[in-house]
Each structure stands twice: as structure tokens, then as C-alpha cells.
């Protein structure tokens, strides 16, 4: 009981002094969202280095289609998971050509950002650019 309270106290203090891991991810996710909007400003598609989308260090980014779209960053600056609704960001099923689903890419790999429904909706689809990420 005592140990549980101590662990809780340490966790709260860490949050208070250096920010909770969750809110840090939220900030990084907000940056990611803003970057994509900026990179797609005035156009329907853009080819970008994956590293351009984040303000933190990472080595590997994996895409998973769970109930939400999950972008899992790992390596270097610690692990982070961004979760998005499919109406905001989308990757196609893994068997669709150029889909990054169930694949991982590195910082230097290129991603295609594409407005999925130009003129209708702001959903952004991620696709692998030519030569990015082996299956």
C-alpha cells in the first residue's frame, strides 16, 4: 500500500516537474498535425521525408490499422504512439499497393501525403513513395 502511494507520488511529481509523458505525446502529435497541414497547404499531394513531420528524434515509424490508426515511433528519443481517427488520417489495408500499413519506415524514407477526398473532406492519406520501406 505504502509502495503504491509512493509510486503514485513519484509519477505525479514527475508530471508536475517535467510534464506527463502523455501530454508530451499530445504536443508532438499536435506538431505532427500542424506540419502536415503546412506541407499540404495549397496542394492535394506532397512527397516529404518522414523526419520532416516530427519535432523529436526517432529511428523507426510503424503504421498499424487498429480501431484507430496508430503511428508508432521508436528509437532515439523514446517510444511514442500517435492515434488518429480514420477520417483525419488514413492508410489503406496492407495489401493495397503503396500502403504503409503493417510496415515500418526510417527517418530518411519518403512518404506521400495525399488529400484523399479533395474538394470534399480534409482526410489525409499516407502512402509509401517509390522505393520507400521494404515489405
Amino acid at each position: 500500500m505504502r509502495l503504491t502511494r509512493l509510486a503514485l507520488l513519484i509519477a505525479l511529481s514527475t508530471c508536475f516537474l517535467s510534464g506527463c509523458p502523455m501530454s508530451h505525446t499530445d504536443d508532438a502529435q499536435q506538431y505532427f498535425t500542424r506540419q502536415i497541414a503546412k506541407l499540404l497547404e495549397g496542394r492535394d499531394t506532397a512527397v516529404v521525408d518522414a523526419a520532416q513531420l516530427t519535432d523529436f528524434d526517432w529511428q523507426k515509424l510503424c503504421f498499424e490499422r487498429e480501431d484507430a490508426l496508430e503511428l508508432k515511433f521508436s528509437g532515439a528519443g523514446g517510444d511514442k504512439v500517435f492515434r488518429f481517427g480514420y477520417e483525419d488520417y488514413f492508410v489503406a489495408e496492407p495489401y493495397v499497393e503503396r500502403s504503409p500499413a503493417e510496415r515500418c519506415i526510417g527517418r530518411q524514407d519518403k512518404l506521400v501525403l495525399k488529400k484523399k477526398y479533395p474538394g470534399y473532406k480534409d482526410t489525409v492519406e499516407f502512402q509509401l513513395a517509390d522505393g520507400a520501406a521494404a515489405p
Binding site: 495489401y95 493495397v96 477526398y117 482526410t123 521494404a134
Partner: protein, 289 residues
């Protein structure tokens, strides 16, 4: 931690790829870790994967088709699965075939063999241009939305139920094709070629009947064929000859229409014979003696 259902799904899909590779002799793409990469989109492998996966879930859920149905349906519903409406229909068709095969087959080896056989014999749909697709929930209002409209690509639970209803009906009542050796086969082929796949073969046969009733007797009598605003228009090469019918109304069974065509042809032949006899009576110099 991974989602256990996703893991189960991936495991079954890996089996599907392995079986397809064995049965087809094709080498499939693999990841660095040796597992199969996701592949096969709107083709034979896609059809096989859908059927095998649905069949296997049926087997694993002790032949409770509703479990597999719910699992398969969920893969078509909502913003996680926006797709070409034809693709939704192809997937739902292949899922239903897979569930039925899963019920019949004992074990996954037999299921895989039966699914592959279903690819080979055409029971599974392996191509978005398959005419059967056009007959599934054909009056879906989403089909009238323009390309690019997100609403066109979405399906609700109710939409899926309507497609499934038509899939079941089509599988329970296999279609009778227009007879190959029918005297009006040329007219049928001409109309079929001029109308989109969503117009059923039964409707085309009905259009053949309307064409003949409008006085066009041969394929060469037909000028233009078009589908506009749910209406089928057939214009004759000779001005004044034309037929029109409502594509939105359900078509009669093929066998009934073929019977009507045969009866129309008999009546026409009888009339022609009568006319010839009358002419012969009026002009005896041309009729023998």
C-alpha cells in the same frame, strides 16, 4: 501490446498466403522476417484470402456463421474501410462463399483446397468487372454519387446487410445464362456489349424482348444502345424504330423471358407464313401451278 483479434486475423491471413502459394505455384512477396507481405488487391489472391479467412473464422467459431459474418462485415463498415463500392461487393460475395465452404470443409487444409477450387471454377469473384457485382444492392443511392465523393466509398451496417441479402439470394439461386444457341443471341450480345455491367443479364434479356417487340428483328437493325437516368434506350437504324425500358425495375427470371421470346418468335413466324400465304393467294402466278 497487440490487439489479440488483430493477431488472430493476421495469423489466418498468413495461412491464406501460404496455402495460395502452395496451391497456385506462385511465389508471393515476403518481408525480411520471412512472413508474407500484405498483397493481392481485387484479384484472385484477394478473393482467395477473403474466402479462406471467412471460412476459417467460421470453422474456429464452431460453424457459427454469424460470428464470421459479423467479423467479415466489420471489415467493410465505416471510415476505416472506404472503398470503391464494387470492391465492397466483391469482398462481401467472397466472404459469403468462404463461410459456406467453411461450414462444409473439415479442417483448414480442405478449406484451402475448396477455396482455391472456387477461384478456379469462377464461384469467387476475382475481378471488379464481374457482372455479378452489378446485381448486388443495385439501387444503392451511393452508387449515384460522383467519383471522389467520400460518401460513395462508405458502407453502413444496413448497406452491408442489403448486399449480403443479395449475395445469399444469388448463391442460392444460381443464374441461368442467356442460351448460347438461341436465335436471338446476336441481339443479346449486341445489347449486353452496349450496356454497363450493373445492368443484369436478366434485364438485357428483357431488353431483347422489348427490341423485338419494337420491330427490330436482327442485331444489324439496332443502332444505338444507352443507359440514361435508369432508362435503357435502344434506337433502330431505321428511323422510328426504338424501344425503352426501366432499368430500375426488377427483371423477370431469365427462363421466363426466354420463353416469352420463343413465343414471340413463333407468333412472328406464324404471321410471316400467313402473310406469305395471303400474298400467294393474291398473286397466284408466283405460287406454283
Amino acid at each position: 501490446m497487440n490487439n489479440p483479434l488483430s493477431d488472430l486475423k493476421r495469423g489466418i491471413e498468413q495461412d491464406a498466403y501460404r496455402y495460395y502459394e502452395q496451391l497456385s505455384g506462385q511465389t508471393l512477396q515476403r518481408r525480411a522476417d520471412g512472413s508474407f507481405a500484405g498483397q493481392g488487391h481485387n484479384d484472385a489472391l484477394d478473393a482467395f484470402r477473403h474466402a479462406y479467412t471467412s471460412g476459417r473464422v467460421t470453422q474456429l467459431s464452431m460453424d457459427q456463421q454469424w460470428v464470421a459474418r459479423s467479423y467479415g462485415d466489420d471489415n467493410e463498415i465505416g471510415p476505416k474501410h472506404p472503398n470503391d463500392p464494387r470492391e465492397h461487393r466483391m469482398d462481401l460475395w467472397n466472404n459469403e462463399v468462404g463461410r459456406r465452404l467453411g461450414d462444409e470443409a473439415s479442417g483448414k487444409d480442405e478449406l484451402a483446397k475448396r477455396c482455391y477450387e472456387a477461384v478456379r471454377n469462377g464461384t469467387l469473384i476475382t475481378d471488379l468487372n464481374d457482372a455479378r457485382i452489378g446485381q448486388l444492392y443495385a439501387n444503392d443511392p451511393r452508387l449515384r454519387r460522383p467519383q471522389g465523393d467520400p460518401e460513395r466509398e462508405l458502407m453502413t451496417k444496413e448497406d452491408v446487410a442489403k448486399v449480403n441479402r443479395d449475395v445469399s439470394h444469388a448463391l442460392d439461386n444460381p443464374r441461368v445464362p442467356f442460351p448460347k444457341d438461341h436465335p436471338d443471341r446476336d441481339i443479346y450480345d449486341k445489347l449486353r456489349g452496349g450496356l454497363p455491367a450493373q445492368v443484369s443479364d436478366e434485364k438485357v434479356a428483357e431488353a431483347v424482348l422489348a427490341t423485338k417487340r419494337a420491330g427490330m428483328h436482327e442485331a444489324s437493325d439496332i443502332g444505338k444502345v444507352a443507359l440514361q437516368n435508369d432508362q435503357i434506350f435502344i434506337a433502330g437504324r431505321t428511323p422510328g424504330f426504338h424501344a425503352q425500358l426501366d432499368a430500375g425495375k426488377p427483371a423477370p427470371e431469365m427462363s421466363g423471358t426466354v420463353q416469352q421470346l420463343d413465343s414471340h418468335n413463333r407468333a412472328e413466324a406464324y404471321e410471316q407464313k400467313n402473310q406469305q400465304q395471303q400474298q400467294q393467294q393474291q398473286n397466284p402466278q408466283y405460287g406454283g401451278r
